[in-house]
Symmetry: C2
Subunit: 376 residues, 2 copies
Amino acid sequence: MSEVYAARRARLRDQCAAAGSAAALVSRPANVRYLCGAVPPGAVLLLGPVQDLMVAAEVPATPPLSPPAPPPSGSPRAEEPRLLVLPGADGDPVVAAADLAATDGAESLAVEEHDLTVARHRALGAAAPRLRLADLGRCVEQLRLVKDDEEISCMRIAGELADQALGELLESILVGRTERHLALELDRRLVDHGADGPAFPTVVAAGPNAGRPGHLPTDRRVEEGDFLSICLGADYRGYRCQVGRTFVIGPSPADWQVELYDAVFAAQRAGREALSPGRAYRDVDRVTRQVLNAAGYGDALEPCTGHGVGLEIDEDPRLTPSAMGKLDACVPVTVEPGVHLPGRGGVRIDDTLVVRPEADGGPELLTITTKELLAL
Amino acid sequence: MSEVYAARRARLRDQCAAAGSAAALVSRPANVRYLCGAVPPGAVLLLGPVQDLMVAAEVPATPPLSPPAPPPSGSPRAEEPRLLVLPGADGDPVVAAADLAATDGAESLAVEEHDLTVARHRALGAAAPRLRLADLGRCVEQLRLVKDDEEISCMRIAGELADQALGELLESILVGRTERHLALELDRRLVDHGADGPAFPTVVAAGPNAGRPGHLPTDRRVEEGDFLSICLGADYRGYRCQVGRTFVIGPSPADWQVELYDAVFAAQRAGREALSPGRAYRDVDRVTRQVLNAAGYGDALEPCTGHGVGLEIDEDPRLTPSAMGKLDACVPVTVEPGVHLPGRGGVRIDDTLVVRPEADGGPELLTITTKELLAL
């Protein structure tokens, strides 16, 4: 694996050099992980003119705020960046890294302005006043867009783990249990099956909460007649996935429930079928949206119908009406239209898929839980 | 409660006016919550020259990344800031808020430079080019330092919930179970007893992992002879607490375990006893540290022996050798020295306490689980 990381760093170094920066400082945690693999929490990467360095604080945030890094696979190699741990409690790794870059003779340093706060950026500038600071922009995020086989196979496993946890939950009795407890049970099952943890806070939303964007579990109990929407994902070696389904509780769904479900299902299928290399992000969003507009739910639809996924649960690209850019092969995205009717509930159906050319069979579905409307 | 929030906003407004800014933009989530109570995830607060506004994106991050806000208590009041929800997927609330401040005639706007990224700060400046941007600094964090009775009673409940969950776990069989499973069980028990969730990722560390700073649960199983260190906290209405204890697994601890435990226990007690209004942060750290230095564990000690706690698990003040400032009454802090011996394990003992004057009985301990060395 360490060759993989070294190759990623080499690509970034080439891009920085082309943009006129001899040194770059990567601080966004998912970007550091992409370029180095296992790193201590809060570590940053300096791609320097003379040497590469990982810089970490002696004490990670206590208690820990970021997921654990996997142990490095294979033996350490010469091309791995050396790890420098700052003594004491007060050192900021980005400030120390800028100082080191200046000491190594760098004249300019590209930093991640979308990650650094204004205060950290200023402290960094003050520590190395002769360094010209440039913006690395979303350069590493761009490299992360297209996933390699190793990354996709981690995501495939993450998808299986989430499907498994959800499938088991559906076999148990749901009526009378709270959203919170169902969410905790899903988290436990994810870990039981080998996930490093949930990919994001698990969503369980019953009755009027169902389908609500950004809902977090409450003490609402599942009742007969409810819509129940569940959205979960697994983290497997840092890679994530997302599966969301909506069910009806009780022997048979009401007419309005069937109608709403069918509309969201049709929209989600249209979005999935639109995934192909070269297709504009906004086109995928548009075809999803059109189905729901035609069914009269346009006003209740959310502004984003899907997003990229990988080391972060919500990464580039975004599938929205104003998104710029086109899908590539081997880009994993979610397709997740949702409609929420205030006071009544709603429906969300989320899948994670990998964009593949038609010749390879079209988009690869990572989350295979049935999308039939189940009455539980 | 809404009078409380209005009074907090009035204090901030006075401080801003004194510093020459007629308007302030608060973006750090815990600060927004402190000033407004219940807010949608990602919402920011504009304290404007004409009106106060909360500005939120139409779609919160999907899936949700921040804890749910509690429902507002009491009826809405005239002094509550109006909520403005930005349509579409691409609006940044801080940019919209700056634009509104300029429209309302503000000439300067104080922003939280320790929260805003360089990129957001620039976008905000571009949206309102005539606005002079100033730094609000950690003004709201300073207001948050001293807690009122309502805040402390939430933290007291959070402490009880964590003690309860930990106490129940200790009654079960631990040998053979993995760190991950024990952590999940603690999380479930916290929620069972009424917590809104864990206050931070629960730490369970067995054997050589015990006492390691920043450890997150692994598949390591608990074995006879292990040190087992556990650190957890509850989130109750947004307020947090932290309790950490270390146990020995098996009928009787080894001599080195007793010796290490006694040293950390003595250090932690010294730190707790040093908590009083007017005492310098670094003094509390020093008395803790001195005990472990004298016992020969100085090198293995972490650079931070405690920190503030409230709406965030790790907030001001920090108890470190270089910290500046003095404790006040009604400031909750942790005292949590830890020593980790590589390859062998270690000991952490963490409590959350509220600083109180001697006349009121001295520091109030919120986490009352026994600190005797239990052999389980």
